[in-house]
Subunit: 416 residues, 2 copies
């Protein structure tokens, strides 16, 4: 009934090491790591040299090994390993969101063609079983939206800036604690949550998107005044990866949001992750857990390995069927806040209607409605002089926005 699993492990960082301890020492599963391939022969590791090899063929060409667990950093090298393993009829468990997001459609097809499983619960939300729940539990329910705090580094920084620290201090702390890499670009510019969003959209809505199609804006340009604006209004700033269905259209992007205390994510602090799922009948669900760290990640990898004992594979039920007509769109309006030292920087951004304007020496802000397709033309991560965040109002499609626009004619004139 249960399959005996013989594992080849690529990478032996914290997660790999944790996994090794659990699998080979706890006897919890009928699974054994037969071989571990690492890149650097000279690095000191917790177990003896005899356990390692440095040639990926030692795993990929070993017919006894039926499961490849890939836990290396380099996305390109990971792609070569994973695609080769699938072609050779081995199941794959991986946590590499960048590699997955960039090659998802091809890898899913490869797994299907070779009748093996490709599982990657650890790639999104650490120990939160969100992929599995989207696959298994929400398959009947019409999902209307999904939004997640899926990057522990930026959530840690935002929590600390909320408590009064400045961005640089909070980032340095995150690096010291091991949450942030020495080059934090992928995290603080919102790339990492975007890769995860590609995976979430595939499992929630069945759409195949490429990372390039999704807009990502991070938090590296946040200033003290932006945090103060939020705090004064009882709001908090969270970086969300989100996708929202509106009829046959799907919106999706990564950007900072101001949220109020009614939002279930208001108290998700520091390195915690949380994914909120909105469904037609079940209302809002929140899944909360530690998003980063060796053990939460190893735990998700372990769950995937465990599922392989029972021949588990993702079925991608939503990729066929009811979402056939769903189209990804950037034609919608949303309400934002933009703050900057320079009025001119704000005025470069086209607003369709303006709700508030504040000007002073050294700090200005403006709130109002913008068209997303125009907003996304700007490379905001590179615009150091300003910071924008999405306000807690509903999105509006083009038609709905027509009405809204008229209401604010006065302010438009005021601003022109």
């Amino acid at each position: 009934m249960r399959n005996k699993l013989t594992i080849g492990l690529f990478g032996f960082g914290c997660v790999g090491n944790g996994l090794y301890e659990v699998l080979n020492q706890s006897g919890l599963l009928d699974a054994e790591i037969k071989r571990i391939v690492v890149k650097n022969p000279n690095k000191e590791r917790k177990i003896g040299k005899e356990n390692f090899s440095y040639d990926k063929s030692d795993i990929l060409l070993d017919p006894q090994i039926n499961v490849v667990v890939e836990l290396i950093d380099d996305a390109n090298a990971a792609y070569l390993i994973v695609s080769e393993a699938l072609k050779r009829g081995k199941h794959v468990v991986t946590a590499n969101k960048k590699m997955l997001a960039e090659n998802l459609e091809e890898l899913v097809q490869l797994a299907k063609d070779n009748k093996v499983s490709l599982l990657y619960e650890a790639s999104v939300g650490g120990s939160i079983p969100i992929i599995r729940n989207l696959e298994e539990y929400y398959n009947n329910d019409s999902l209307s939206g999904i939004s997640g705090i899926v990057n522990g580094t930026t959530n840690y920084i935002l929590t600390q800036t909320n408590y009064g620290k400045d961005y640089d201090t909070a980032l340095a702390e995150a690096q010291e604690l091991g949450f942030a890499e020495s080059d934090p670009t992928l995290d603080v510019e919102g790339f990492d949550p975007k890769f995860k969003l590609v995976l979430l959209i595939k499992h929630a809505f069945g759409l195949n998107l490429k990372p390039e199609q999704l807009f990502n804006y991070g938090i590296r340009n946040i200033k003290e005044q932006d945090v103060r604006y939020a705090t004064e209004k009882g709001l908090r700033i969270k970086l969300f990866a989100r996708a929202q269905k509106n009829g046959n259209e799907l919106y999706g992007f990564v950007a900072p949001h101001f949220i109020d205390s009614k939002n279930t994510s208001y108290n998700i602090d520091n390195e915690f992750n949380a994914v909120s799922v909105e469904a037609l009948f079940s209302d809002k669900q929140l899944f909360l857990g530690k998003g980063a760290g060796a053990y939460p990640t190893a735990s998700a990898v372990l769950s995937d390995i465990s599922a392989l004992q029972y021949d588990y594979a993702y079925e991608y039920k939503k990729s066929a069927g009811s979402n056939d007509n769903l189209e990804f769109t950037e034609d919608f309006f949303l309400k934002i806040y933009i703050g900057s030292e320079f009025i001119e920087a704000i005025q470069e951004i086209p607003f369709y209607s303006i709700d508030e304007v504040f000007q002073s020496k050294g700090y200005n802000f403006q709130t109002g409605w913008v068209k997303f397709s125009e907003l996304r033309q700007f490379n905001f991560n590179a615009l150091k002089d300003l910071f924008f965040a999405i306000l807690p109002d509903a999105f509006l499609g083009e038609e709905e926005f027509g009405v809204k626009k008229e209401e604010n004619l006065f302010l438009q004139v005021f601003n022109s």
Copy 2:
């Protein structure tokens, strides 16, 4: 690949009605309600009389019907329906926690013997997919504890008393909003969460417990002063159903808890439910969602029906294997608060060590360590003069407590 499901529905309250709309009108699933059996022919309903019948044989003896969905209130009648349906080779989906908790072992065996599925996600936590996650996702990980706010009525009342309302006002409100029944005993004395705890323990730890084995204490005796004590210390009061593993022993009970703001359940307010799962490697996970209401419940029922299309059945993996030596125990110590107008009422409760004593005209309280096996001898729900709640300290096994006890000798003497 997918099974065609022909459903017989028992009960047509809010949930049944919601389910009917979704199934027969949305076309989301390849499932059809063929017949609805209700008790009262004269009640007005949203759809025509021709849809109903009043004899349960119309469903149970219909060979075309392969799924019975049981959504009636009466636990005894539900048991007869469910057991008969299973015997006749029909899958069963039910939300009746009382009926399930009282007959779980027998019903699980019946389902197994007749090679059909018995699914009941809607019985715990409304739309939160906790049973499925315990079954499917945490099967490899050594679960160490589970605790849940699984009763919306009492959580609503506790939220409102926290905001300054008294118990009776809050209860009346809950009744007006439809959260609480006219006889709220099962909710406010902690029976309802106890039935759910029986199910959670079965899926989390594999133990078969009877409701009578589990201690349940609710919130009906809470007083303003108890709330004030909590508020002054930055604590909130939540009614938890919880089970905790300590080595080969398992503790489990329902009781009010004082929790601090670090607890992930601190902000779970009003009718929301939340279940927290503690596992060896994945750390703490929280599942949050609406615990009550027609749609959240219907959504969970729908997920079960959907799963039947793919021949899904609970495997009860934890009932065999690693938890074989696990024993349910009441021999442990825990730290509690007891408040009362009457000192004598407090002094009746045997404390092993006392941390704080406060006495005044009209209100007294005491905190300290008690032995659970002694505590549970009292019928606290009937002791209107006092209220107790568990403090946010760790539990202690008998051995560990030995040390703790010595430390507090002074206070023991003081109290004697």
